[in-house]
Symmetry: none
Subunit: 306 residues, 5 copies
Amino acid sequence: MSKRVKEILSWYGSENPGTLGNLARLMNHGRLGGTGKLVILPVDQGFEHGPARSFAKNPAGYDPRYHFELAIEAGCNAYAAPLGFLEAGAADFAGDLPLILKLNNSDSLYSGSDPCPAVTGSVNDALRLGCAAIGFTIYPASAHRNEMYGQIRALAEEAKAKGLAVVVWSYPRGSGISKEGETAVDVVAYAAQIAAQLGAHLIKIKPPTAHIELDAARKVYEAEGIPIGTLAERVLHVVQSAFNGRRIVIFSGGAAKGRDAVMEEIRGIAEGGGFGSIIGRNSFQRPKSEAIDLLHEVMDIHAQHA
Amino acid sequence: MSKRVKEILSWYGSENPGTLGNLARLMNHGRLGGTGKLVILPVDQGFEHGPARSFAKNPAGYDPRYHFELAIEAGCNAYAAPLGFLEAGAADFAGDLPLILKLNNSDSLYSGSDPCPAVTGSVNDALRLGCAAIGFTIYPASAHRNEMYGQIRALAEEAKAKGLAVVVWSYPRGSGISKEGETAVDVVAYAAQIAAQLGAHLIKIKPPTAHIELDAARKVYEAEGIPIGTLAERVLHVVQSAFNGRRIVIFSGGAAKGRDAVMEEIRGIAEGGGFGSIIGRNSFQRPKSEAIDLLHEVMDIHAQHA
Amino acid sequence: MSKRVKEILSWYGSENPGTLGNLARLMNHGRLGGTGKLVILPVDQGFEHGPARSFAKNPAGYDPRYHFELAIEAGCNAYAAPLGFLEAGAADFAGDLPLILKLNNSDSLYSGSDPCPAVTGSVNDALRLGCAAIGFTIYPASAHRNEMYGQIRALAEEAKAKGLAVVVWSYPRGSGISKEGETAVDVVAYAAQIAAQLGAHLIKIKPPTAHIELDAARKVYEAEGIPIGTLAERVLHVVQSAFNGRRIVIFSGGAAKGRDAVMEEIRGIAEGGGFGSIIGRNSFQRPKSEAIDLLHEVMDIHAQHA
Amino acid sequence: MSKRVKEILSWYGSENPGTLGNLARLMNHGRLGGTGKLVILPVDQGFEHGPARSFAKNPAGYDPRYHFELAIEAGCNAYAAPLGFLEAGAADFAGDLPLILKLNNSDSLYSGSDPCPAVTGSVNDALRLGCAAIGFTIYPASAHRNEMYGQIRALAEEAKAKGLAVVVWSYPRGSGISKEGETAVDVVAYAAQIAAQLGAHLIKIKPPTAHIELDAARKVYEAEGIPIGTLAERVLHVVQSAFNGRRIVIFSGGAAKGRDAVMEEIRGIAEGGGFGSIIGRNSFQRPKSEAIDLLHEVMDIHAQHA
Amino acid sequence: MSKRVKEILSWYGSENPGTLGNLARLMNHGRLGGTGKLVILPVDQGFEHGPARSFAKNPAGYDPRYHFELAIEAGCNAYAAPLGFLEAGAADFAGDLPLILKLNNSDSLYSGSDPCPAVTGSVNDALRLGCAAIGFTIYPASAHRNEMYGQIRALAEEAKAKGLAVVVWSYPRGSGISKEGETAVDVVAYAAQIAAQLGAHLIKIKPPTAHIELDAARKVYEAEGIPIGTLAERVLHVVQSAFNGRRIVIFSGGAAKGRDAVMEEIRGIAEGGGFGSIIGRNSFQRPKSEAIDLLHEVMDIHAQHA
């Protein structure tokens, strides 16, 4: 095992060998295996945004097997999806790549100002499907955040006892903050900290903007002169906010966009010390060969900063 | 076993032989046995709408044995009902046809804008009554959807471990959408996707209309030119939305209506690749011989597209 | 469902519809379906006698799939085997025929005068493998009989609660009786009674000889002039001993022998009112086509007495 | 994944994706990865024979880390050991190779004619230590065999539900057979069959000799002319006895011996279609470089027959 | 924390921080705190030998508080006793020193050739009494060894999950070996290995004699020329036998004896690399000041070899 992966594992000293082994599986698989960098394919958009919005652009994606194949062929570190999508392929692709079972999901048919996902899977589901980790979304800033925090607390405790890793999607959203605030650098840094404090091993956040949402925070950012001018600076700050870089922080790719825009963002993340990317719509909504090409370029950028 | 049934079973590779066997039982029974098409008789209207609204038109239906007989004589693949109706006939008709125990039901004596059924049965009830599957209704778009999703998650995990199949009625309803939106094509497709992601083996939805409810979805339907002009086109789309046709999707018959209207709808469903129909009021509210005649015609249409 | 099967089900009035349904599945499957007669293929000899003694004569039988195929192609009512043999085929043949999971088995590498099988499966195993029934061997006359009776008591209670049928192999053996006594008519009749009293739905015994083992019994047989001269008379008596024929009693085929000897025995069983046969070595140790031919003849004889 | 590994996985159709994935991990790791052949390092001799007898010859082996290193450097498919040895290294070597937790062990400070190991670990231990499989020893022919069979039954059911693979060491021993009989071809074939029927995924047996222990078996071997003259012929027979080769059967290396004797035996195993070897004393009692050299030669022989 | 204690903790990488912290508490308390050496006061003789044999010589020892005071005043690392003795003082001395709850004990009112202690406490008892560790005695060589091994397996799993350390008294005794064999060097080394493989963190054994009990072992000791002439050499060997010194091995003081004899033994243990002593009768059966003086000298000898 590479020195870097060993070093990263050393940050998780409270975990049992089972969990450490699954963290190692996540870091050692695929094209970035051993670098300590990760690119993960997540496909929960069918549940979150509906099938047409997710898959009509590249209809191959309606088929659950497609995403397993895409993740394998592109050499992603892992594939993350809700129960149904994993059940529909886990036997056919058993042993082919690390899987992450998303244990909660929100649909868009009902939406209030304060989101709260439904719990849609269990730790035992993750074991029977052969997953390396559970995934869970929290929405800090939602009036229902405590319910989510309580759920992930219980699920993470069980997952860790059974040797699984814990991945938390930390997306501030809800009546506590503005729309712009969802990606504000102070809020994203705070979201990373909350996930880390909840015991996440891997934290997924959005690339932070230069906006500062909270007045109390702004004073400190200004007083201490925290650099937040470039994306790389902001990524450096949010990674520092996740236990001084001793938790794996990866960044979402966000809404589908042009390839140049994707790569520019990845470069900022990589320069700032981000541990990798989790690229959903920007990969599976492109034709497969184009998606693999894009994912490879993303991986190459991260690899250059390993 | 027919090649088609074997093919359909191959989509459920994560399930144990018990669950596969019960899926096979559902597909191999009755006049459509072996075709991969299903026509199921559901009778939960007594609970859902009250007895007079349900049974006064054809008073034979007050008797729980009547519906077993109807389903058997018509050659349905299965009969689905709440606990009481099954308890009242399951011994007399043991072994005569596959049963589906509806594990939740809503009555109409209290109704808010956001429905949430009561859990009225258990997986162990399904086992002691000899059922092949559990049934469960979710109401995406209800403020209480997460409670339902959480309930079916736990029930489905238990059912699968004990070798039962899982049938989900996915009926968007509630304050998240308009009345017209309940059968909008984008919403119905989304409902099929949600049920599939929750781990349903069989998904029951309503025939979709050409209406599009969600603005975010409309953009995609227009941009990608998804054909939704005819019922067949819409059915094709919603079946695709359930894992590219790798989950069994059947369609409800809806409110009682004229025979021609029924058949026109069935033809659209069959042409679009629907896996079958679940016909309640349009069968049991007719005199038995007429109902059987109608069901046979429905089966024949589906069989022609097998 | 046939009148005869309905009649037989009526004898099991304490059972829930799940168990009744599984009894019906056993009686309704295969060439004898609906007659109330059963021919079952049991293959536990690999465990009981070792692989070479069981399969060398017809090496196709080393393969677990072979026995599923044989049972299916011959139109047997069910196939009974230990855990490993069922696990090795239950998914591939899901839904193809009723299965019986043998929950205890004895090997021949250790043998004392008082046999006691090991428990090798569970009721939950039977559910996850999609079985219609559990099977269990008791050895009345063994010093360890009470341990076996206690095990089947608990397993049968659980199986009945979960809707499964219970098949008991009742083979008197052990230090309580002589070798000849194992098939003595009084002992076999007693074994049938014990299994029935333990709550078995289906009882498997050996064809009884005219020998009487127990002195206390002999007096009665003589005093009452119970006819035991022919096999048919003895079968009539042992079937009567199983609740006056209100429990399904089937007869083992015993060691491999010539076809004529098999058929003569079957005719005696059928004439005496036996419910069928469970034919292992005499079928799977013959080439498949010959075995199917033999099984068909056995079935035909039973069918003539239905 | 290689075609051969996919083929082998197809034999285990009743298992969930978690168990399939762990079987794949075992087959895909190390120098033999992907060939469908396995060489496993087992080190339970410290418990079974005592420390000096096990490690004095190569004192590096007193250190638990040594065996992890040996297995990794030699490119073994997996390392199997009791609780203490795995606890002493599982964190340091997390993710480095598949582990098998031996769940029962016998020491030599008390020995009767009928061995019965103690249960020394649990399925949850296997999960927290990150193991791919549980291991368990049965001693057919011991008076206590039923206790062992009952223990592995329960442990295997739990392991399979939680996505682990099950490895059974099947070593006939005890008052039921002679010393010579422990490796008799009929007994070893029977031992393989018993383990397979108990639901083992991987079966470890001893290389069989030409001796036949049981009279009842001898008749069949002679009557059917089963070739048992060479080790390759005997291996062919015992592999056939494990579900016609549809269960993975590997062979123990036995007591320490000269390199030539080891290789001759391996060649016989490989020619006969054995799936691999489990080499303990013949590897860890040699200096490390010599052991690796020996293991590589063993692997090469197996690879030539893949 | 001292470098040595850190080093020792690094050997227990599979344990959670709670268990590591309690191991550290044991090593950091008292006069030997931080040296990696331990002297523990055990008082279970009241249960094991009866009160008069244990306490009449120094009647202060009848009072449970006396032993807490002795251990505290002497600066022992910990005090180990059965449930009653700890309950009688744990509140008064809460926080004063680490406690070890002995979870099993044998009395002398019944004695067979094969001892098997009773389980007299639980892991929850240990938690509520504020203990740092559980203690458990195994008797390898007893016919009942497997029962003890199974008990400590379950108790250790629970203790580790709840953050406690596990101390195993490994005393070969029973019909498997001779009386002299109980302290034979091969047997003591084996006993240390067994305790380590069962997952003990701290192992308590008896000082080994030069006798060799087992023929199979003697061959190896002679062939490999393992030095066992002096106590120091034998201690070196048994410590090596406990995972090459990577498990803490401490030595019992045995029956009460003269001070010179005690010290000579301690010097041998210390020179051989033993981690410390557990001195019961030789301390609490002396007047307190004398006992403290003796314990201090024991500690000093161990400290000189730290």
